[in-house]
């Protein structure tokens, strides 16, 4: 039965309908795989009892022929989503005892479609990181190994590293993640998965623990583009509990997976491709992708995002500024961790609680955010960054007058070792070089596996489309997936 964990969601739904196996059997097979690979540290909390109960309901629904879209499919949920009655820590000591009384809209929606939650996945603390090395619950390990150094554990990327490792290692058929500056697309690229961040406002942020509210968006990891379309159809949609939620119908996305890109205009920012410092293997993947799309009849058009070189800097002003404000709620009074503060004043209690409850990367970003928001620097940094955000958003608007999709690599490099890139924070921030520009513009983007490095590690290509046009991102991603079908994106030994 262990092979059933390798099914795609679409295959598993068919098999469940055919009664080839039950959701209970499928769930048990995943729980066994989770147990076997505890060393990856992909989950913070496993919810076997809840999963088996829901799998039983799913089996009953199949028996009654009243199954829903994701009926009986075992999935994982990033620990950033509040789940009623289940620990929701956001990878932080600050919330290491936080058991919500309510469910996030997105996790509720996928479960309303019949998905079975296996557990809550590990993540960088408050979603701040690109390597999943800042979690209070320890590092997540990637199931992948580099050919030239197989003994070195690799990062799965971050911040949704637990979700990425879980899906890549067959510990779940899909996983919810969140993406502020690349936290779904970068780990998807590092682990050979499809990762999707929808248009800002497509998925409700209700019940998602906030990092940077103008950028945070729920996303998803799957092993195929078709599975991604299925998950997005169940996750997206208007929610009155989120004031930034878009009231716009969710289209049928699965048809995108079989649509050709013939005569489609696809943009490539060749100026970025010619920049120094991008690894030759990334350039090759990019060129191979262009060939795949051309062979399917797409027209490749040279476009320019002239202000993209300012995106990283603007992001590292805006995101920490919003984070410093959002994280000011953690004071130890109403919920979460409170330090032992006998005999202290209330100010001392706040300070001790926050100093003990937050990890170093979170503190660093709170400090930067507070600095750029302080009265002397507000105009020079925060306001300036918002103006540059406008310029970047306008660059994309102009580009989308010419093209229907844009392709950019997801990451500037392959996955790296757990102990690498820790010399200074800026080195780590550079991981998000390509994912940040479309995030600032709030655009839908899909990372799809498109190549392998000489080290036998997966590389992802990012497909960006215009606001609310998830369909075309999936359409191009599915074409790239078909064109790369000779490459196995399964980690060795799994």
């Amino acid at each position: 039965m262990s092979e059933i964990i390798k099914y795609t969601i679409s295959q598993a739904v068919k098999a469940l309908k055919n009664k080839d196996f039950s959701s209970t059997e499928l769930t048990i097979a995943h729980l066994e795989q989770m147990n076997k690979h505890q060393g990856l540290n992909a989950y913070i909390t496993e919810t076997a009892d809840i999963a088996l109960k829901r799998a039983g309901i799913a089996d009953q629904n199949y028996h009654n022929n009243s199954q829903r879209l994701l009926e009986g499919i075992p999935i994982a949920v990033k620990d950033l989503f509040c789940t009623k009655g289940v620990l929701s820590s956001a990878g932080s000591k600050m919330l290491s005892n936080f058991i919500p009384n309510y469910e996030s809209t997105v996790s509720q929606k996928v479960q309303d479609h019949g998905a079975v939650m296996l557990g809550k996945t590990n993540m960088d603390e408050f979603a701040m990181g690109s390597a999943n090395i800042t979690s209070y619950f320890g590092n997540v390990i990637s199931p992948w190994r580099a050919a030239d150094c197989p003994e070195m554990p690799l990062v799965p990327g971050g911040s949704s590293g637990g979700s990425a490792s879980a899906v890549s290692a067959f510990l779940a058929m899909a996983a919810l993640g969140s993406d502020t500056g690349g936290s779904v697309r970068q780990p998807a690229s590092f682990t050979g998965l499809v990762g999707f961040k929808p248009t800002y406002g497509r998925c409700s942020r209700f019940g998602m623990i906030a990092f940077a509210s103008s950028l945070d968006q729920a996303g998803v990891f799957t092993r195929t583009v078709e599975d991604c379309a299925l998950m997005l159809e169940s996750m997206m949609g208007f929610d009155e509990k989120d004031s930034t939620s878009i009231d716009f119908d969710v289209p049928q996305l699965r048809t995108a997976c079989n649509a050709s890109v013939k005569n489609m205009k696809i943009g490539v920012p060749f100026d970025i491709m010619q920049q120094d410092g991008i690894q030759p293997e990334i350039i090759k993947m990019w060129q191979d992708t262009i060939d795949i799309l051309k062979n399917d009849g797409a027209e490749i058009i040279d476009i320019s995002i002239p202000h993209s070189k300012y995106a990283l800097a603007a992001y590292y002003v805006i995101a920490p500024a919003e984070a410093s404000s959002n994280l000011s709620r953690y004071d130890g009074i109403r919920y979460g961790f409170r330090a032992e503060t006998a005999g202290m004043s209330i100010d001392e209690m706040y300070t001790k609680t926050r100093s003990e409850g937050f990890g170093s990367e979170v503190k660093r970003r709170i400090m930067i955010g507070t600095y750029v928001l302080s009265s002397s620097f507000m105009d020079a940094y925060y306001l300036k960054a918002q103006k540059i955000r406008r310029l970047i958003s306008d660059d994309f608007r102009k580009a989308f007058l010419q093209v229907e999709a844009i392709i950019l690599p997801s990451t500037p490099s392959e996955a790296f070792g757990i102990n690498q890139k820790q010399d200074n924070p800026v080195t780590m921030y550079l991981n998000d070089l390509f994912t940040i520009p479309p995030s600032l513009a709030g655009l839908p983007c899909c990372s799809v596996p498109a190549g392998m490095s000489s080290n036998n590690l997966p590389l992802g290509m990012q497909v960006i489309s215009k606001e609310l046009d998830e369909y075309n991102s999936l359409r191009v991603a599915a074409t790239i997936e078909r064109g790369s079908k000779n490459i196995s994106f399964k980690p060795k030994g799994f």
Partner: protein
């Protein structure tokens, strides 16, 4: 360049406490980050309108009314610290003495 004095000032605003060594490291790290951010100074943006939200639609409004039932019991389920049990019992958040 961010000095130790500035780190001290910001840490007070953020209600975070650092040792002298941590402050020294932070001054270096924050300086590196700000050096990366300073590329923003290359651009002249006086005439550009800041983008505060990618949602350019009008903000939705609703009637100002109570939508949820009494959740006062639920509010106290996630308390921690040595006064948590007392707080649950009296249904008040317990904090250290504010007025001397």
């Amino acid at each position: 360049m961010i000095t130790i004095e500035e780190v001290k000032k910001i840490s007070k605003l953020t209600k975070l406490d650092f040792s002298q060594e941590q402050m020294l490291n932070l001054a270096g790290e924050l300086t590196e980050i700000m050096n990366m951010i300073n590329i923003l100074n290359e651009l002249e943006c006086a005439e550009i309108e800041p983008l505060t939200s990618v949602c350019d639609r009008n903000q939705r409004l609703r009637q100002d009314g109570v939508l949820s039932n009494d959740i006062s019991g639920e509010l106290f389920t996630n308390l921690s610290g040595d006064k948590a049990e007392l707080a649950k019992e009296i249904k008040c958040f317990v904090v250290p003495k504010v007025v001397e």
